[in-house]
């Protein structure tokens, strides 16, 4: 498919500068019809900027964009779409109270007299969905769909515009479980068959290697390499992304000693929102309990229940004492910290780094309600240093930090409070390899200081890598507990999480 063909899209020497940062520095790229092209790079490498320029959200400072032999210059996303380039938003841009069909043809509804030709609308939507083998009801309201289905509708919406030949996808799989990712891949292959091109950004290297024909790696706004996937290994890619060699290692299994004698947090018949039912778990001091589950398994609901964000029944013991959590306030005061699945729910973007860090310990850095700024700055500075948060200074708004560093700010907020239990919901989602590694390292060292950690993830390798124990959730229930993660494999986990093991199983008989 590549070679001998005219490129569909050519980028020449694209440059974009923001105050103080060269986001893109002379990036050139060719995209061919029927190609799936992955753009990889750490956060801040310029991937998103590139996508935004291609989709008309940002304007380039210099360089040329040539689409099918013609020079184009996009001022707005509308220009880009009518020229044939569509961005499938990472943040969903669907209207929740309209139907799937209405959303797909949003703004382009066929008129019939004074009204809308509903029948035609429905028929066309049905055809599209059938063409891609999707079992989504065109008349369902978007708000009733799962996140994964919404994402698919989002892509269909772009496909429905016949002029669009280049699709830009920003982290398309970040909100999806493994099954849904497979479905998305099928859809992308269908698009490819039609001779259209797909450019996508991802943090998941293995995914990019499986899915794409060629890969481009960006680093600090410059292109490092463009190469066919078959010529690259995961290690090569990491090397190009970071400029450092990386040994994939199975991390020592017993980093964390299992002092099972002193459970710090005990859940008894803990149920949340009529969805998560009868969870019995304990977390010991110094233990990392991974809760593994696919999207929709109830992991987040459980975490929110544990932090008093949702109504729950059952008993909760912290250090042997029963506690009541009817609000996050009580959770915070009893020593539970929580890092939500979506950073946007935890951070206050317009606030600087320092006040985001000290937000949960304001009473420690103040006297009688008056802030002791020096002390606050010192505390924040210490965490910025300890966690290696990359920021020009502590007064920078969190908004301007990369995802990994934002996550660290959130972590710092809880560390400042010295919690006894920390609940982390997908803390490494959507951040780059280097930051992922650092967050895991930090989590481990936290456990070593005696914290009990509940670590939620939907990535099996991550679950296996550094957990003390793994509990698997499905349909709101704990379906399996693995007391010795070193003795199981990824497929054991997936099997349990996807329902291949139906009965409740406790492995190793240690409980």
């Amino acid at each position: 498919m590549v070679g001998g063909q005219e490129p569909l899209l050519v980028l020449q020497d694209i440059c974009k500068e923001f105050p103080g940062v060269k986001a893109l520095d002379g990036v050139s790229l060719e995209i061919f019809p029927g190609e799936i092209h992955a753009v990889l790079g750490e956060n801040g490498a310029g991937k998103s900027t590139l996508m935004k320029i291609l989709s008309g959200i940002l304007r380039k400072d210099r360089g040329e964009i040539i689409l099918e032999g013609k020079r184009v210059d996009f001022r707005t996303p509308r220009d880009a779409i009518s020229a044939g380039i569509a961005l499938v938003q990472q943040e969903l841009s669907l209207v929740p109270y309209l139907s799937v069909a209405e959303n797909i043809f949003l703004g382009r509804w066929q008129r019939k007299g004074l009204g809308i030709d509903w029948r035609l609308l429905k028929k066309e939507a049905e055809e599209l969905l059938r063409r891609f083998n999707l079992k989504i009801d065109p008349q369902a309201l978007v708000e009733e769909l799962s996140v994964a289905e919404q994402q698919i509708v989002e892509i269909i919406k772009a496909i429905a515009k016949p002029q669009v030949r280049v699709f830009l996808l920003d982290e398309p799989t970040s909100a999806l479980g493994e099954k849904e990712i497979a479905r998305l891949f099928e859809l992308l292959f269908e698009i490819k068959k039609e001779g259209k091109a797909i450019i996508f950004i991802s943090h998941k290297i293995n995914e990019a290697l499986v899915l794409s024909d060629r890969i481009t790696v960006l680093r600090d706004g410059r292109k490092v390499i463009t190469a066919p996937c078959r010529d690259l290994t995961e290690r090569d890619v990491v090397f190009h992304m970071t400029g450092k060699t990386w040994e994939r290692q199975r991390e020592a299994e017993s980093v964390v000693q299992k002092e099972r004698v002193t459970p710090i947090l005990v859940l008894q018949n803990f149920s949340v929102d009529n969805f998560v039912r009868d969870v019995n778990l304990e977390v010991a001091r110094g233990e990392i309990l991974v809760i593994f589950g696919l999207v929709g398994s109830g992991r987040t609901t459980l975490a929110e229940g544990l932090f008093g964000l949702r109504r729950h029944t059952g008993k909760l013991f912290l250090e042997g004492k029963e506690i009541e959590l009817s609000s996050p306030l009580e959770a915070v005061h009893s020593g539970i910290g929580y890092i939500p699945e979506d950073r946007r729910h935890g951070l206050i973007y317009e606030m600087p780094v320092f006040s985001n860090i000290t937000l949960a310990v304001l009473s420690d850095v103040s006297r009688k309600g008056i802030l002791k700024l020096e002390e606050e700055f010192r505390l924040a500075g210490k965490f910025v240093q300890d966690l290696r948060i990359k920021t020009p200074n502590i007064f920078r708004e969190v908004l301007f930090l990369s995802g990994g560093n934002q996550q660290k700010v959130l972590l710092a907020r809880w560390l400042a409070r010295n919690p006894r239990v920390l609940v982390m919901d997908e803390p490494t989602r959507g951040i780059d390899v280097g930051a992922k590694f650092e967050i895991r390292e930090l989590t481990k060292s936290l456990a070593l200081t005696g914290l009990g950690i509940i670590y939620i993830t939907s990535e099996a390798p991550e679950a296996l890598e550094f957990s003390s124990r793994i509990a698997v959730m499905r349909n709101g229930k704990i379906v399996a507990i693995f007391d010795d993660p070193s003795r199981i494999t990824k497929s054991d986990l997936i099997a349990a999480a996807s329902g291949a093991l139906e009965r409740e199983v406790v492995w190793n008989g240690q409980r």
């Binding site: 973007y349 006040s355 990359k390």
Partner: protein, 336 residues
């Protein structure tokens, strides 16, 4: 990642003008307007005229400071004018009909305005009613209460059945229209309130919570901030400011009436917005609001001096808000 800022402009001069305009915001507007007015009329650039401007905007300054805190916390208070009238009228009634002393009467006025403000907060936080609706309701209701208290007549007045116990105390009149050396007392109070507000916003845990609640309510809650309590307190505080503003206004007019300062809520919102505070909360400063209030004061004062028809003044005042916000948007886009 972030390198040191490089100068990329063509000449060194242009970027510096640009950066003054970018950083200065509304202050540049005040300076530009002043230069313009000064070149048209010799009466503008005099000390007495400036003191006059400050005196005129003092009440707006006090109320807009309250509005700044409320808006930073993600709310909006449409009832500031009605709170002011309620506090001012009750204080005036107490002092002139019931024979209360200045201190007791003032305390009563401020207390009742504070209570009504707390009421706003409780309705919003516990009743889960949008801030706009709750305070819109209070805007009407509290005006009604003031009318009931005063019987629709100015206070003090000889036309009531109740016998007048005396005129308004001299201290109150001094608060509203006196001078300290050359500084008008109400202006000094206004600036004092702005400074106190600045201190609250930037140096107290409560102020920090206001930014947190307005910036991201959920995140604030998840950090252990009692969002409801913060809301109740900030509306209560706004009530307190309005009560104080009411005393200043009554002192300035040497009379209270239930319909005083009608429509002032829009002026306070305008001052806040012109001052660069984000209407959706989480970002802003009270010094910006101060500049915003002064900008509006300078504009109407200058137009008066130039003998521009009051009808035209309304047009200009309205357009000012739009222009400033347009400018602010442009500024932010460039800043990104």
């Amino acid at each position: 990642m972030a390198k040191d800022k490089e100068v990329t402009g063509s000449t060194a001069f242009l970027p510096s003008v640009r950066s003054i305009v970018l950083k200065g915001g509304s202050l540049v507007g005040v300076v530009a307007l002043s230069i313009a007015f000064a070149s048209f009329t010799p009466h503008f650039m005099t000390l007495s005229n400036w003191l006059n401007i400050l005196r005129q905007v003092s009440v707006v300054m006090i109320l807009a400071s309250a509005q700044t805190m409320v808006i930073i916390a993600g709310g909006i208070d449409l009832s500031v004018g009605s709170l002011l009238a309620l506090g001012g009228c009750l204080a005036a009634v107490a002092m002139s009909y019931w024979g209360w002393s200045f201190v007791l009467g003032s305390l009563l006025g401020i207390a009742i305005a504070t209570l009504a403000g707390l009421g706003n907060g409780v309705i919003i936080a516990k009743g889960k009613i949008p801030d706009f609706i709750a305070t819109l309701g209070m805007l009407g209701a509290l005006r009604g209460v003031s009318l009931l208290i005063t019987g629709g007549l100015p206070v003090p007045s000889h036309f009531t059945a109740t016998k007048l116990a005396g005129y308004l105390p001299q201290v109150l009149v001094f608060l509203g229209s006196g001078d300290l050396w050359v500084i008008p007392v109400p202006a000094a109070i206004g600036v004092g309130v702005v400074i106190i507000t600045w201190f609250i916003l930037s140096r107290t845990t409560f102020g920090r919570s206001l930014y947190a609640v307005g910036g991201n309510r959920e995140a604030a809650r998840a950090s252990g901030i009692d969002v409801d309590r913060v809301k109740v307190i900030v509306y209560g505080l706004a009530g307190l400011y309005c009560g104080a503003g009411g005393l200043v206004l009554v002192g300035r007019m040497n009379s209270a009436n239930a319909l005083m300062a009608e429509g002032i809520e829009l002026q306070t919102i305008a001052a806040v917005v012109i001052g660069g505070t984000n209407l959706s909360g989480g970002r802003g400063s009270v010094f910006g609001t101060l500049v915003g209030a002064i900008l509006m004061g300078v504009l109407s004062n200058g137009l008066n001096l130039l003998n521009v028809q009051p009808f035209w003044q309304r047009v200009v005042n309205g357009l000012l808000i739009i222009i400033v916000v347009l400018f602010d948007q442009w500024r932010r886009r460039l800043g990104e």
